[in-house]
Amino acid sequence: MPKGSVAITAERCKGCGFCVEFCPTHVLELSSAFNAKGYHPPHMITAEKCSGCNLCGMYCPDFAIFGYKFPDLKGGKVGPA
Amino acid sequence: MTHADPRCVLTGTHFINGDAACCEGALAAGARFAAGYPITPSTEVVERFASRAPTVGGIFIQMEDELAASIALQGMVWAGQKSFTVTSGPGYSLMMEHIGLAAMTETPCVFVNVQRGGPSTGLPTLPAQGDMMQARFGSHGDYSTISLVPSTPQECFDLTVTAFNLAEQFRVPVMFMMDECVGHMTEKVVIPEASEIELYPRRRASKPPGEFLLFEPGPDLVPEMAHAGEGYNVYVTGLTHDNRGYPLMNPKMQRELITRQFEKISRAADQLTIVESEGVEGADVVIVAYGITARVSRRAIQMARDKGLKVGLLRLICVWPFPEKLIRELAPKVKALVMPELNMGQVVIELERCAGGKCKVISVPHPGGTVHKPADILEAIERGAQ
């Protein structure tokens, strides 16, 4: 049961791979698909491992991805860590 | 128009030099902030300002060089203040990049240049009018600004106020082109009551954030202004930019932007034809001069009149934009226009162009260091009258 997830704006992505490399739980991978600019944006390969920690978002130089936590059952805060 | 703040105005009669009068003019005009760097013969302006400004809640900051001074003042303006800087030849050369920045970003401010003998270090303590073309063309690229030239300490006061007013009205950097003579000449200067000093207020954004565009031309092509800290998220760049201020680097935007910046000045040509004329009507020869040289010319005119010559004086107070229309009208009516300048012939280029071959144009150049001998000007008048 994943604790969080990511939102990706594929058209902004320049395929640098920072998010993939620095995701602590190795949730992401660059897809083989091109976006309009010819880059390969990331997608989730092990979504269940995502903690929503938003490290991917912190690293993404193009504001193309960010992570967020699912609402806590006890009513915690929603939003990036 | 508003009026000067009485706390900043040293109302009264003074025996002060042009540098001091310029400082008082800036204060009266509402400038409480200035950035500068010392250089002879201009330093007295900021020395006085450093002492006066704190008494009215202002600051003078002496920057590490003229590059810094000439942009720090623009920061002051974008923070909502009126501001100016003061320098002389070598420092003025160092300010050229930032005069272009002020023109491009339509930053209202005043650059005072107390001209001394050049080129290079030249004659630091002696007068010249050798930076007149630099005032117009010294920065790279095309821009159009305003240059005023005072010829007495009294005018150093009066016209400094005008310089600030024009800067605000047109959102341009205004060049205040003094010279060592006028700067270091001491005379009676009358500073009026604050209520008699009219000020052109900052053209502030009349729309709220979201609707307001920082470079949207008004009816007179001049945009309104918002400052840092007012919630407008202003965007100011020296790049070619659109009405939001965002960089937009293509020939079309360039044409739109630069043409407008020229037109906002050229449309106001009549207002900016600021001259003093004396005995021009019916004259055979008219001396066209500015600053200290106009004053020296008066003696030559007296001498010429004593000899029975019909000579008039057209004193240019606003040299840039050049009073083209006036000269085009005047040239056919006279035998000659005579232009003495404390330089090797600068503004006379424009004079001759505008005269368009309709009369003789006689340049009386002088490399500076002192003023003309009236006899030299007289000689030119006589040549012109033939």
């Binding site: - | 025996f15 000449m185 001491t186 005379e187 009676k188 003023v371």
Partner: protein
Amino acid sequence: MLKEIRIAGFGGQGVILSAHITGRAVALHENGYATMTQNYGPEARGGAASAALVISDQPVLFPYVANPDILVVLSQEAFTRFTPEVKEGGTLLVEEDLVHMENLPQHLKVYSIPATRIAEELGKKMVLNVVMVGFFCSITGAVSYDACLAAVKDCVPAKFLDLNIKAFDRGFQFGQELLVKGTKPEADTESEAILESAN
């Protein structure tokens, strides 16, 4: 009435201030017109310094002085350089200890004063310029005593006011006494020597 005046010496002698005081007296305390200009070299002290003053009952057009009616010299260099420029029949005021008057043109009216010595006697060499203003006022009459004194008061820091008034008075007094004695400097041995060499 238009009078062209030059005051010259070296930097640090207060030449500019003395011209300022005189001009101010005319412009602000006498309803006249005065234009003061100055020349100085790159040196902060010790270099040549000179001020020109044009006073008139009409607005002053031409602000410079080529041939002064009155020349005040406080240094040898200034004497040598400017004396030849004085108008025919003009007046020359001299700091007598610092100037040896060689080749003095005969047409001039000459008045000397040991201004520095007087200032030193008053306790501050720096007031030699105010001594000179008093002397000038006294000898030339180009500006009134009252106007001049008022201008001195305008221009000096409060704590040195008394000293300066004294300096002004001493200069003025010295002038008055000299006028009684005639235009030539006192015939003490020292100044006689000067006069001799001034032939």
